[in-house]
Symmetry: C2
Subunit: 187 residues, 2 copies
């Protein structure tokens, strides 16, 4: 696979670092950048999977994708290494006081479960936008809820009871590794 | 992010499982599928990073990417978890009896080095197409070569001396975890 050089910079969208309207994804990316910078952990967001159908080559070094489709991801969005542990998680926002289970693909839940069984550390991060609160929920608590309930969404109260509220501050934006430190004790 | 349902299957290319002309990527994907199936390890190829510029929505559920560009990946192609260890590697083919260092991005080498320092297991897999031999080279041996040589390519002999020849068989196609077992002893 040839990657055209130079295009990357050209097409990078400018990011504004104000405090309003930062998405959960932006906050997590900033947090991961910070962890990388201070050499605390190496955690990256995976690229969004795309099925490329048609590519044009207007010149020797350029490849322009002219037709492509988003495909369902087979895993989660984030993974990496922290203190030698394999870290794997999915992050979602919700506008209500419920987290609809349809927001996460079934095979992503299966993936998170497998990771835990293989002694990795896996979890779900959910932001309740209206409350501006972000929780980390261990995979085992996610699975427990699904197994013990017929509801199609997880209520906020369950996150408050079983999850861990993630500190929101300037830097790191969302210090989720502080919570992972506690989880590591239990591995 | 909404993923249109159904499109995935529609655009998946048929894969032919004959023994001729399988690329290294195909062999590794088959191997990882096998590891997943027998529940030995969870290792996936990351999607190829693409910068999407223009998306059309011909109907409510469909998103057609009409303009996008390949971007330089910030990490390696493969990562996952095996026996609780974080695994991370890049895989490349070469047509000659040298592995040109320009085939791997400098920041990918830095990434592999960081992974090792964070107690993950990282390496490079290189296939010498003409010999039909595939080697695993530990990141530390890759870095050593770069530090101790001015050559712009790593000769086959170096892989033969420092690397590990990966068995090629029917299933798993390329049993690289057999070698990782030895590396784990040294972590």
């Amino acid at each position: 696979m040839n990657y055209p050089t130079g295009l990357n910079k050209k097409w990078t969208k400018p990011v504004t670092y104000n405090n309003r309207g930062m998405t959960l994804e932006e906050d997590i990316n900033l947090t991961n950048d910070y962890y990388l910078e201070i050499d605390k952990a190496i955690i990256h967001k995976k690229p969004t999977p795309v099925q490329v159908v048609k590519v044009d080559y207007p010149s020797r070094d350029k490849a322009v994708i002219k037709e492509a489709y988003y495909v369902v991801p087979s895993t989660t969005d984030y993974n990496g290494v922290y203190k030698g542990h394999y870290i794997d998680f999915e992050a979602k926002e919700t506008n209500t006081l419920n987290f609809p289970l349809q927001n996460i693909h079934k095979h992503q839940i299966i993936h998170l479960d497998k990771i835990t069984k293989h002694h990795g550390i896996s979890f779900l991060i959910v932001r309740f936008i209206k409350l501006n609160e972000t929780y980390l929920l261990k995979t085992e608590d996610l699975i427990s809820f699904i197994n013990e309930n017929t509801r199609k969404s997880i209520p906020y109260e369950y996150f408050k009871e079983k999850g861990y509220l993630i500190d929101f501050k300037y830097n790191p934006r969302l210090d989720y590794l502080k919570i992972v430190d506690d989880l590591i004790e239990g591995v």
